[in-house]
């Protein structure tokens, strides 16, 4: 007998990635030989080595997850649905480091027989300081390839965040956080197209990050603000707008926590006693803006900030802070007024209302949108269909499908559990 396990309801190897959010899966018998019954009881379990990821199971859309799951599977090939989620606190460190095994006990006196298995990865965004050397190298290599000497797809991401018209689509109004969530996801999916085992790490800017500012990772700045890399680091070939290299002059000791910005707990209080997004989004000034101006160089100013790849790790932390605040205060539901700033006194500009599509993924290039829309639609994923090729602001709130499972965007943070 053989069974087939489909992760994210797909046979594609590129779909075998899960987060803390439940991923829809299915199992079916592909070879019924060895049994005469109309259905067999299959037990699913997660097998992984030390320091590898782990997954848990449940049968339906509600209820607790468990380490094993028993399913009655018809032998006629009909699929049976179930859900898999990463076990919180146990993310993967490599692609395929978790295996789901399917076993059937054919007779009471015999041990369960392995009838199918699949490997997968609990792909989670982690702190730069907790990446393994291999994870770090895979990420840096993928980022180097995405830039490809300034001739790669990365230039689109740089162009999305350059002109004042473009910047107005994403800053200084309610859509700041949703727009950047989509922006990061688009970039992350492009990195995953190069190496599917990569997840965007975050730079926890309110803490010391001694591993990040090293020659083998995001480089060390010399006295003139030029970032130096090791000879084996592909970021030494980084180029944007025809400019070779990265300019970044830290105004603080990179082995210590930077001064002058709100820490995580202070940031969570910005929403006030009623935890309003309208107030919380002022984190765009501090800690977000304050983190940008910890350095001279590209990252210091809005038009040049994404020329430094550190931008994306900084914003990944900004997004993590929002995600954590959302979890603490149940702010995933767009119909909850406090979850978004829908009615500011002067109204929201286009691109900042819940129902608005977001530039540039919507391809709209007529005023008041910018005159060009670099990069096309948002990159697709084999793991989920959300947020779609032309996301709206509202599509970016329920990022791990806490309210609507179909809204799951396919990423999670190592310290933000599923709601």
């Amino acid at each position: 007998m053989k069974v087939e396990l489909q992760i994210n309801n797909s046979v594609s190897a590129l779909a075998r990635f899960v987060t803390w959010a439940p991923s829809p899966c299915r199992i079916r018998v592909t070879d019924p030989s060895g049994t005469t019954a109309t259905a067999v009881t299959v037990q699913l379990s997660s097998v992984s080595t030390a320091n590898a990821g782990a997954v848990t199971f449940r049968q339906g859309t509600t209820g607790a997850f468990a380490n094993t799951l028993s399913l009655a599977v018809p032998v006629n090939g009909t699929s049976v649905p179930f859900f898999v989620a990463g076990k919180f606190g146990q993310p993967s460190t490599a692609n395929g480091d978790v295996k789901i095994e399917a076993r059937v006990k054919f007779a009471p006196s015999t041990p369960p027989t392995l009838v199918g298995s699949t490997t997968l990865m609990v792909r989670i965004r982690k702190s730069t300081e907790s990446l393994t050397t291999a994870e770090r190298d895979r990420f840096v290599n993928a980022f180097g390839k995405l830039n490809n000497q300034g001739q790669g797809r990365f230039q689109d991401f740089r162009d999305m965040h350059a002109s004042s018209a473009a910047l107005a689509q994403a800053h200084g109004a309610a859509g700041f956080l949703p727009w950047h969530r989509a922006y990061l996801l688009d970039l992350e999916r492009e990195l995953q197209a190069i190496d599917p085992s990569v997840a965007l790490p975050y730079w926890r800017f309110d803490q010391a990050a001694p591993k990040l500012f090293r020659l083998d990772f995001f480089g060390v700045s010399d006295q003139n603000g030029r970032v130096q890399f090791s000879n084996t680091n592909p970021l030494q070939f980084w180029k944007t707008d025809g400019f070779l290299g990265i300019n970044r002059s830290p105004f603080f000791s990179t082995s210590q926590a930077p001064p002058g910005l709100f820490n995580e707990n202070q940031t969570f209080t910005l929403g006030g006693p009623n935890n309003l997004y309208r107030l919380f989004r002022r984190m765009e000034g501090n800690p977000h803006g304050s983190a940008h101006v910890l350095f001279g160089g590209f990252i210091h100013d809005p038009p040049t900030a994404p020329k430094d790849p550190l931008f994306f790790l900084l914003h990944c932390n900004v997004d993590r802070l929002w995600a954590k605040w959302q979890l603490q205060n149940s702010r995933f539901d767009q119909s909850v007024a406090a979850a978004y700033d829908s009615n500011p006194p002067n109204g929201n500009q286009i691109g900042h209302n819940l129902l608005d599509t977001m530039w540039p993924w919507n391809g709209v290039t007529t005023p008041p949108r910018p005159p060009t829309a670099p990069g096309g639609t948002l990159a697709a994923s084999d793991c989920t269909s959300a947020p779609g090729p032309q996301p709206r602001v509202q599509d970016c709130l329920d990022y791990h499908g806490a309210i609507n499972p179909l809204a799951r965007m396919g990423f999670d943070y190592d310290d933000v559990r599923f709601a």
């Binding site: 290599n141 180097g144 390839k145 490809n148 000497q149 300034g150 001739q151 004042s164 910047l167 107005a168 800053h171 200084g172 109004a173 700041f176 083998d216 006295q223 003139n224 030029r226 090791s230 000879n231 084996t232 680091n233 592909p234 030494q236 070939f237 180029k239 025809g242 400019f243 070779l244 290299g245 300019n247 105004f251 001064p259 002058g260 910005l261 709100f262 820490n263 707990n265 202070q266 969570f268 209080t269 910005l270 002022r282 984190m283 765009e284 000034g285 501090n286 977000h288 803006g289 304050s290 940008h292 101006v293 001279g296 160089g297 210091h300 100013d301 809005p302 038009p303 040049t304 500009q349």
Partner: protein, 288 residues
């Protein structure tokens, strides 16, 4: 039933008005004012009065450097709130232009840096003037060249070539080379720097990166030659190998027996674990 734990006390963030009044109080302690200025960055652009108060501190040469610098940082952070900052923007740029000629060199450099990244014509003119005439220079030549590279153009290229020929220091030469990395006409210059074993290693590595982006075919040819050159420096060979591994024409490289043997030798002779690993991974990719 488990006992309910006491609700943790929330860390306090001061009210904006309090932060602003502390930040702009000339009688306050410098350290307190710096901290308060960072807090105020959250809301500086939400009303004209707050913005004016911070601008006034920044423009006042009698204020302590630390407080003025914190004001500059706070405005820089607030500038990320593009839509809300729009009414303040022209005054912000005007203040930066004034600051570009401030007597404090750090404030001058930081203001010019932001203006250069905004491709500000006034700043570019001042930077070029300073490179042509050191008596009127607002920043060091290496910083001026670096700032001009944010928006390279013909006049900047011409000056950069002059600085490559007659650099006042190594830093200025490196920045001039970096500026020229955007200039397709400079590919022959980078070939020369790359193959010159008497040139600074940093400049040779910079030339490798520049040439690779200006003319990948040419670079691949030189990278191959350097990997096969027994007298070449190991770090230059490692840079060449990284470029070939990451961006090279893998089909051509995979068929190049002498090159693969050269990489085998590099992997065998090097004492660097990283270079060994790189060579091993490269060869493994090509079935060795």
């Amino acid at each position: 039933m488990p006992k309910k734990s006491a609700k943790p006390t929330r860390p306090q963030v001061r009210a904006t008005e309090t932060s602003l009044s502390v930040a702009t109080d000339p009688k306050g302690r410098v350290a307190d004012r710096v901290t308060a200025m960072a807090e105020a960055s959250m809301t500086i652009c939400e009303d004209d009065q707050s913005f004016r108060a911070v601008i006034n501190v920044l423009r006042d040469p009698k204020e302590p450097f630390e407080v003025r610098n914190a004001a500059l940082q706070a405005l820089g952070a607030a500038a990320f709130r593009v839509i809300e900052f729009a009414p303040c923007r022209s005054d912000y740029i005007a203040t930066l232009r004034a600051l570009a000629e401030d007597r404090d060199p750090t404030l001058r450099r930081r203001a010019l840096g932001t203006l250069a990244r905004e491709k500000d014509g006034y700043a570019q003119k001042k930077l070029i003037e300073g490179l042509k005439n050191p008596d009127v220079a607002l920043v060091s030549p290496e910083k001026a060249l670096q700032f001009l590279s944010y928006d390279p153009h013909a006049e900047a290229y011409a000056i950069a070539r002059e600085f490559v020929k007659k650099p006042p220091n190594d830093e200025a030469k490196a920045e001039a080379l970096r500026l020229l990395a955007a200039d397709p006409k400079s590919a022959p210059l980078f070939e020369k720097v790359l193959r010159d074993k008497d040139e600074l290693r940093d400049n040779r590595q910079l030339a490798a990166s520049a040439l690779y982006s200006l003319n990948p075919g040419k670079f691949q040819k030189h990278a191959r030659a350097m990997l096969l050159d027994k007298s070449e420096f190991e770090d230059i060979q490692a840079t060449s190998l990284t470029a070939l591994a990451q961006f090279g024409d893998q089909e051509a490289v995979g068929k190049d027996e002498p090159l693969l043997k050269g990489i085998q030798k590099l992997g065998a002779k090097t004492r660097s674990a990283k270079y060994k690993k790189n060579a091993r991974q490269f060869l493994a990719r090509h079935g060795r």
